[in-house]
């Protein structure tokens, strides 16, 4: 009895001290605290109805945006491509039959189809949000309820990653001084180039029959390819010309991104977090497994789709304007191929 009383006095004394020096705001009242989220309830209801939870077995691995009443939805492709036992939940309905209809590696978006009926769709925002606009997205979920994460638009919408092709041969190239063409400096282990037996010193002449004289020429050919596609390379080794067939792999699976000090303070980030033609930037504190869902404004209108957790203070989303084009292209594959035929500059093209 006595000791607990003493304990209590000790506790109060330290409390008084804490008040003066360390006033602090309890977790539920912070930006992403339970009490703060309550004000966003009308927007949460939109997520409840029109966002999808993607499961791999029992675990939720990503969110999705419902884009048609009969069950088409889009999500982040690279978060689901190794998932077995994929299932989808919209509101409280669980769909166990899921078809991956199409994907675009340029944007890392997959189109899925479930047998839905009269699913409520997100409403697209007309204008692009400006800096400081509140944004709301999926944060976590139970079987019954979606929960929010909130933040704001943080920076200018822009291209990230210099527009490099998302697939690579797996070589480091240099300009050959004698011929002026591209020669292989280094072949990266486990890459398509490695498996095809390319060697340092090989000079690249043609890719799929098209003459290649510069990094830009090669980028243009690669820009039209998907992971798993094959590319026929004509190379010159010594005095001999040879044809080699190279499997193209995803850039991030061959070239590990350089880890910066900022990455060290960021926790887990999306494996594919760069190399998008155009993104919105928010300060949403999303986890790797909570991207893929809709990005909503205070009206509950959809201003984009979360596509990557980039670092401690940056989350990227595909803007609605581009997202709607992507959806249209994925639902109509013929148009999709034309859409991919874009020429992009390249700032750092030595790794191809």
């Amino acid at each position: 009895m006595r000791s607990s009383l003493l304990g209590l006095i000790g506790f109060s004394a330290s409390l008084a001290c804490a008040q003066q020096q360390f006033g602090q705001l309890e977790g539920e009242f912070r930006l992403n605290g339970k009490e703060t989220w309550k004000a966003f309830e009308p927007v949460r209801e939109v997520l409840q109805a029109s966002s999808a939870v993607i499961y791999g077995g029992w675990k939720s691995v990503a969110y999705g945006v419902v884009v048609s009443a009969d069950g088409y939805l889009v999500t982040k492709a690279s978060e689901i491509d190794k998932i077995e036992e994929i299932s989808v939940r919209v509101d409280r309905k669980h769909f166990k039959k899921v078809e991956v209809v199409a994907t675009t590696v340029e944007w890392d978006v997959a189109l899925l189809k479930v047998d839905g009926e009269e699913l409520p769709l997100v409403e697209w925002a007309e204008a692009e949000p400006v800096h400081g606009t509140w944004v709301v997205s999926n944060g976590s979920t139970t079987r019954r309820d979606r929960r929010v994460r909130v933040g704001i638009i943080s920076a200018n919408a822009r291209q990230v990653g210099g527009g490099r092709a998302p697939v690579v041969l797996g070589v480091t190239l240099k300009i050959n001084d004698e011929s002026g063409g591209l020669s292989i400096d280094k072949v990266h282990e486990g890459s398509g180039a490695d498996e095809a037996g390319l060697e340092s010193g090989d000079i690249i002449l043609k890719a799929d029959g098209i003459e290649v004289k510069s990094m830009e020429d090669l980028q243009e050919v690669l820009g039209r390819k998907e992971p798993g596609d094959r590319l026929t390379l004509r190379i010159k080794r010594g005095e001999e010309d040879q044809d080699r067939e190279v499997e193209l792999k995803k850039r991030e699976s061959v070239f590990e991104e350089e880890k910066t000090r900022n990455d060290a303070m960021s926790g887990r980030v999306s494996q594919r977090r760069s190399n998008f033609p155009r993104v919105l930037q928010t300060d949403l504190p999303l986890s790797v497994r909570s991207v893929g869902g809709p990005l909503l404004d205070l009206e509950g209108k959809c201003i984009g789709m979360n596509i990557a957790r980039a670092n401690r203070c940056e989350t990227f989303a595909i803007p609605t304007k581009e997202l709607r084009e992507i959806i249209r292209d994925l639902m109509n594959p013929v148009q999709g191929e034309e859409g991919a035929d874009e020429e992009e500059g390249s700032e750092d093209p030595e790794e191809e």
Binding site: F22, G23, Q24, E35, K38, A39, G132, D283, C313
Partner: protein, 363 residues
């Protein structure tokens, strides 16, 4: 705990003691846990105390949403958004990236003439040269002024005369726990396409020399500004903890307290955020000369003296025009200088009078 001063993938040279000392300053997650329930009490008492004591000053421009425990509905949220978007353009125009070659931090202009507040671990010392970059990419040369080494406060001044966009300070230090705030900074270094990044949050912890917000910061944000929803400066970003909600800022009051001294280029206090340069160093051994002055007994190779061409046997009779009495006097004069200072020495070599300029080094 991370240091917010950063380069793009480049390791930044920061004195080794920095990390060690900062580690000790990390708020302990354990103690926060223990406070758990009691902290609700703290919050309430603190709010009553602070509102009560300053009510007179705050009435009027204190946003109504800061008086609520949390925003209650979409309308409250929109008022926060409106306030933020109204003050953001000016805050952005005054927020700069500070480029030091090997790495970069951020800062904010607080006077029309180009006075910048930043973190001491960004400016790195007094009298250092750096480049500041405005959001539109315009570059200006700048020089660091005074700093407070113990709390991470520092000033930098743009060299060129001009009229610069600037922000107002929260001069009466009215920021209170729970206030809605926003942070700006050039995360990871200057990126023109991206521009300055803005993050929203609340003041989640207040102490005399540090305030915490849940505005997420990262390397490169160091020295950047934290604003209240009227666009007044309330703090400068300093460091982060492991949790996303541990983002620490130097309160503006710390700058106000040391303002005049910092303007006079004072190096206030000691570490951990920046270490004072050692005493100035010339690199000679001397003996007293009968007629006054000193004679060089030895000149170190690759020392400031050696580089400047001083030779054994030279007699030094004046330093910056002041007659040297003896070795003790000479040594005291050198130690008064700072590394990087240039001193003029009048010497006698083979009875010929010469003047040699030497840039003092660091031992």
């Amino acid at each position: 705990m991370g240091c917010l001063f950063s380069g793009l993938g480049v390791e930044v040279a920061i004195p080794g003691t920095y990390f060690a000392s900062v580690k000790m300053m990390k708020p302990l997650p354990h103690s926060e846990r223990h406070l758990g329930r009691s902290a609700i009490l703290c919050t309430l008492l603190f709010a009553v105390f602070s509102v009560g004591s300053r009510a007179g000053e705050k009435e009027g421009d204190r946003p109504y949403f800061n008086q609520k425990e949390v925003p209650e509905n979409i309308r409250d949220l929109k008022r926060i958004q409106e306030a933020l978007q109204k003050s953001l353009p000016r805050s952005r125009s005054a927020t700069v990236s500070i480029d030091l070659g090997g790495g970069s931090g951020s800062g904010v202009i607080v006077s029309e003439k180009g006075l910048i507040l930043t973190a001491a671990h960004v400016s790195g010392g007094v009298g250092k040269k750096m480049t500041v970059i405005m959001e539109d990419g315009t570059k200006h040369k700048a020089t660091s002024q005074g700093l407070v080494a113990a709390t991470d406060a520092a000033m930098v001044k743009i060299d060129e005369e001009g009229t610069y966009p600037y922000v107002e300070l929260d001069g009466k230090d009215t920021a209170s726990l729970g206030d809605w705030v926003y942070a700006l900074g050039h995360s990871g270094g200057f990126e023109k396409e991206r521009g300055v990044g803005v993050r929203i949050g609340r003041l989640v912890r207040m102490a005399d020399e540090t305030i915490n917000s849940d505005c997420n910061l990262i390397g490169g944000d160091s020295g950047g500004p934290l604003f209240d929803m009227n666009g007044r400066l309330i703090g400068i970003h300093s460091r982060v903890g492991a949790s996303l909600e541990q983002n620490m800022h130097v309160p503006v009051g710390e700058f106000l307290t040391n303002w005049d001294e910092m303007l006079r280029n004072a190096f206030i206090g000691e570490g951990p955020f920046v270490q004072k340069a050692g005493p100035a160093f010339l690199g000679v051994a001397t003996e007293d000369r009968e007629e006054g002055g000193v004679i060089l007994k030895a000149v170190g190779e690759e020392t400031p003296a050696g580089t400047a061409g001083l030779k054994e046997g030279d007699a030094i009779v004046e330093l910056n025009g002041e007659k040297i009495e003896n070795g003790k006097h000479f040594s005291a004069l050198i130690k008064e200088g700072k590394p990087g200072d240039k001193v003029k020495l009048k010497i006698l070599r083979d009875d010929e009078e010469m003047e040699i300029e030497v840039e003092l080094g660091e031992k």
